[in-house]
Amino acid sequence: MSNGLLDIRNLRIALNGNKDQQVVKGLNLSIEPGQTMCLVGESGSGKSLSALATMGLLPPVLSPIAGSIKLKGEELLGASPARMRELRATSMSMIFQEPMTALNPVARVGQQIEEVLEFHTNLSQSARRKRVMEMMEGVHLPDVEKMYRSFPHQLSGGQRQRIMIAMALVMGPQLLIADEPTTALDVTTQAQILSLIRELREQQGTAVLFITHDMGVVSEIADDVTVLKLGEVMETQNVENLLRHPQTDYTRQLLQAVPSHVPRMARAEGSKEIVLSTDKLCKTYGGGGIFTRAREVKAAQDVSIKLMKGRTLGIVGESGSGKSTVARCIMRLIDPTSGSIMVGGSDIATLKQRELKPQRKKIQIVFQDPMRSLNPRIEVGQSIIEGPLNFGVPRAKAMARARELLELVGLPASAIDRFPHQFSGGQRQRIAIARALAMEPDVLVADEAVSALDVSVQAQVLELLAELQQRLGLGILFITHDLGVAAQICDEVIVMQYGRVVEYGPAAQVLGAPQEDYTKALISAAPGRDWDFANFRPFSEAPLAP
């Protein structure tokens, strides 16, 4: 048995201490000093809970019922609360997914770091402050004097996560647990935080337990990888071996589902029929407050797009790029400030609600969050037929059509009288697609429609969309932040930044040979872009250029 820094043996965590409700089932894990171990799994795999158990921070309803967790040979399960408090921050630290909520909103960030020193050292106040400043410089925060006095809401997402990292490492612990630390961040920020973690690990020799669902991130940061599925360890391997020679079917499937960053083969141009186009679409928020001086925000500026029948147009961008604003304007969920929106030959940008209704039929939307996109109180069948009923389809006919649609999206027709909570996230997203299709639209807007799904489910939903498009000749407007997903499904791609279109062209050109600096930066920041996960090799070893 290795004498690692952290040794987890046969860890079992159960709900309410009940043996039959185990969420982690016999986890074994060992980390050497200075090593980075990635814990990978989809939702429900128990990866975060294992980390919280190590820190002794499990919520009260969950408790370890068997096993051992040893840090430098010291047993943590059953250690006194006082001892656990001593170990936290000094020997092991943790950073979290959402740096905005993980920081106290009403305390200055510098003081939140200093607080750690206050309780774990005897340093004088000035020495503490000096140490905090050093640490803040160490994580490359600018203007640390000013930063020290800032509140979390005044910083950017990346700066907040840097503060969290400074806070975690200020006592120089040997182990850093990072629970999806880059998932909530934009791709360029994510790349910076990953490189910071790598840099600090080398400088300080800190071992990292890095929890993620993203194989791209794994390929960037891991030394070793442990794959978890529903609380059980599938395999543990060196990262290179895992990506090249996965031992279990599960890992293989997981890797195969990762969307590749190489754009798919361009499809032959089909119909020239334009189903959706916008011309100089603008949306401006705010402005005109009497006392508050609300700042004017140009959420979308001069966005002109063209979508043909049977084709997929992707809009990619980071948060705040205006991509969702464009989608919501096109759906007329918000009113555009200026510009035109042509749907099937008529301009809907300025139509009144009543005139708009007949046009609504032609364009439908699928949203991001599968938990909220269906009314939890009505049967899914009722949700699907709501639209057709509005347009005068008789109920019996609409219901019969709803059954067909459920089968079309890969669900049994008998699902029609179930409630949304009886379905998984992927199933709900299928139902949402069926609801959109019930209107027989020409255009389907997918607003981050696969972003909340696990990668394997995501691959299936993408496949479904592609299949439906072929069968029905749908034009799809696909909004996403994920370049890999965009590369897999889009014929053409628009890159947006700060409400403006930066680059617009065929997918192979924009994502394969970008012209603009911003597009280049986005692509080079995407984690795992060099790996062809589905074929278990780096692209550099691919037999032919794609």
Partner: protein, 296 residues
Amino acid sequence: MTDQSTPLAPRQRISPVSRVAEIVTSSPVVLIASIILLVVVLTALFAPWLVPHDPVRLTPSVRLKPPSETYWLGTDAYGRDLFSRILMGGRVSLVVGVAAAIFAVFFGLILGLFAGYIRWIDAVLMRMVDGLMAIPSILLAIAIVSLWGATIWTVLIAITIPEVPRVVRLVRSLVLSAREEPYVEAAIAAGSSTALIMRRHLVPNTIAPLIIQGTYICASAILTEAILSFLGAGINPSTPSWGNIMAEGRIYFQINPGIVLWPGLVVSVAILSINLLGDAVRDALDPRMAKRGIER
């Protein structure tokens, strides 16, 4: 791993009856509260047949008697049987409580829906709601009753008006957060009319919170009726209510404290039971706590 192959969860529907049973038996305290409430409601309902004495007949010969075998809780200053008066008094108190809850929820729901959905109504209505909430409810109620005369209707109106703004605010905030839900936006995209969206997607969201709010209003209305009577701005004592029995007993408190304390005990226990039941319903229906999906 595939969401297609996952078998569908078995169909499950919880009937309203078993849901109520589940809430009532959720803890011994709630069970006791429910039983007490049932007893109070039944005795009030059948009071005319249950009372041992005429609750309004004056019998000067037996004024302010202590509890005895004939007069279980003693008599008041006019020789009326206290026990019979308390039984009968429950009718007024419960009617006021239930009616105030229904009216306040009804008007609050309608106004709240409009405020939540139509912007210009919202601006005007919310200023009025703020204004009404600024007026202390007891002061408003006694002012209304003293001006309009003390009948059961004016008392009811006086108690209901200050409760309405709270319901309006509740409904408005529920509607505002529900309209942001993607499923409501999907309904807009499907061409559903505002009326349909309200009926299908927004109103159902308000039902659970309104049931909870309704129980609290019921409790608070019974309390307010008692206070109004106590201050001399309540229903005329010829119709006994828990409040006016106590009000009449005030001056004789040092001689026979029972006239104040017995109805006080009954009204407290009744309100306590309603509040406990309201808490139990809230714990059962609160979406943040309930992990199961909400069935109709």
